[in-house]
Symmetry: D2
Subunit: 240 residues, 4 copies
């Protein structure tokens, strides 16, 4: 059983009518809804509205994979919380960053770079080209590409370390390209960045997007019990 925690800043959905219409219970619950239909996955949620962002040591210890969505409230996540999450990842917890989470504190801490990108608020059509159909995260996605009728436009250069594996490149009819699906290993933790998911569009109801996030959860889950990951070889090293 893979234990997932979906974290959402949950701001636009409470304050903007057009977003509320698309995600009436928040993006976190939209994600919980489709993930929860899988027999091997159990889902909790936490948001910026919860005390301490809803993130405790206990929650992290019981989370195999965290999913993160944030946008305009990155600065409201306390540094200590961001560092705690980063350390959980280094110890083996998988993590999936969605869309504007590219500027979340946790992502920037893990990448070590600005994670800047170019962008336009738009309703460009996006076409996501798939580079490797046999990667576990792309399992079941057919065709050379799939499309989203409308997404916010992101563009290169994206200020990230080169991904360990580039899975998708996004094409926008406005003239931009973006590395839309990126995989990194950070010590014991697996990291996936997935670009779609602007709050005003129904992206998280798209079948391919749901498949990819579900696949990514299974891929990012640690392959050893987390207690083991934190323990044997680390303990035996005299650490400097």
């Amino acid at each position: 059983m893979i234990r997932v925690t979906v974290w959402n800043e949950f701001f636009h959905e409470r304050t903007e009518e057009n977003v509320k219409k698309v995600y009436p219970n928040g993006i976190h619950n939209a994600i919980k809804d489709f993930l929860g239909t899988n027999e091997d996955i159990v889902v909790k949620t936490a948001t910026l509205c919860d005390e301490n962002c809803g993130i405790t040591d206990e929650l992290l210890a019981e989370t195999d994979v965290m999913i993160w969505w944030g946008h305009v409230k990155h600065g409201d996540v306390p540094d200590e919380i961001a560092i705690k999450v980063k350390e959980a990842v280094l110890g083996g917890m998988g993590i999936i960053f969605l869309h504007s989470a590219h500027h979340s504190k946790v992502f920037k801490l893990l990448m070590g770079t600005t994670c800047n990108l170019g962008w336009r608020e738009s309703n460009d059509k996006e076409r996501l080209w798939i580079l490797d159909h046999n990667h576990p995260i792309m399992q079941g996605i057919e065709g050379r590409y799939f499309e989203l009728e409308a997404e916010e436009t992101y563009s290169e250069p994206f200020g990230i370390p080169d991904p360990d594996k580039l899975l998708m490149i996004g094409w926008y009819n406005g003239g931009e390209v973006f590395r839309s699906g990126c995989v990194w290993h950070r010590e014991n933790g697996k990291v996936f960045y997935f670009q779609p998911g602007h709050e005003t569009f129904p992206t998280f109801y798209n079948e391919n997007v749901q498949k990819i996030i579900t696949n990514a959860v299974r891929w990012a889950a640690p392959v050893c019990p987390k207690i083991k990951l934190e323990c044997p070889w680390v303990a035996r090293i005299e650490e400097k």
Copy 2:
């Protein structure tokens, strides 16, 4: 169910007493024996003694992962057979190259380089250091390293493309190091090279070696039905 074919040149075990003692039924059957104990894996074998090396289009179509051991008879594998196997890999079949298979035609075709290395016939102690405990191929291997009491010594520089992921580095008491566990993606196929396995040593009875090969089989198996891999997006491209 993962369908594995273990290919072995099966020469030393028939012609040299000291090897016959270690692997009386051949290295292929030693591998088949431990792989076959897994409920999700079925194993066939093929050798250089079989007509056409025992490799037919039908066999390749029904193989999810091939395992390859060869040493002094690489040249006896006809080019057409080697090319056939390479193409099956590009179409999605996983492949695991063991020890001296670094100089097999199939490996060299897939790598595009000489695959040369330094070597000494020896009975050096080897210590295999693990770089990523959370990779599926390393699942269940505990400690920072594991040891083999005796192995043939391989050394850098190893004339390969940089692996997509380096999993293990071998240390030899004689003074050498070697990239002993290497992962590549080649189009739709996953490739793993694993250095241990000289014919005169009981390496394939080692518990860690068996675990790693078993893990690698599960990792290398295609995540879509192979017929799909060869088909949808390839068909839709006007290929140049």
Copy 3:
């Protein structure tokens, strides 16, 4: 002084009026013309019209970087010649593959994959996005992207090993993306693939294209005398 050999199949320019108009002396001479203006570069050319493709052991020994353009006559390059060039690369000669050279024998031998791609004959506008402005090959290219008014459209998936470094992604107004600037290391040799350069367009007169090819020549040139590369450490290894 960097010694460059530009190889061209030199077929379209002799047989098709519209191509002849763009490159009256052949693509090889168009490249020679701009490379030759650099004081640190000397350029020879060779074509399919020459005996043995104009490629001799002596020429390879005296070439630091080879540039390769081919399209419909890949099959006319004898296997022995292609293998000779591949081996020169593994020994330290740099090589730059342009446009449809993705299907040349030498490129496919070095990559180990089909190197297939999607394509449309078109006169799409292409916009080349730059991922790393501080790579030697991108030196002096300003802006986040540069454009070509018309190019043949290439699209993903491109059947190559993941590049060691991805430098550019091409966007086409028809809806495609392509990994347009890719770097690999193959043993002692440096390899650069650069997508623009269809025979019917004046791509090789574009200032940015010329800068990139010139930069790539300097980047790909071996950093030790080639005789050294072929020699000291290779000689000292007992090769298997």
Copy 4:
């Protein structure tokens, strides 16, 4: 002209007799001495003894490549200074981390991981195996490996992101291996980690070590004027 700043915590050399004997003017001056003999390199130094660690915005603006040595006083470098240096790297300044600088704040910020490793104070013999003789950093290093009579032992697993290019693997007679020469790109900045250089050993007088550091300086220097790097394309992006 490449402008280098060598930063050293300069503690052991002032407080311990055995270190003072080896580096009477500090490790920074030992490095300055050999770098300064090159006509294309000018060297400044800065240490923890200087006000604000000797690091100002002006110094960073005038530094093309920084070299960093630290060990027991990492915590005394103020966070603001470490962040300033990190940002200079992301903007294009090259940086070389030596030996125990693996635990410096700047390195850990750039890597995003713990950068933990195993270690033994020892005087093990180290043998550094070279994986790519044609990389600019390895220029002029002959043979398959070179040796240091005595070094502190470092061992895997090294808690770093996989390097973009692994150049050297260290072998220690005590049984350890280590990724001793690692290259990363971090946005506009080039990063090199080089493991030798314990304060009690005369490592920085070793000819190969000096050559490698000198090569790395030339490799890490930005290929565009730094003012340009910070400017054109960054300015044109609407940054999120």
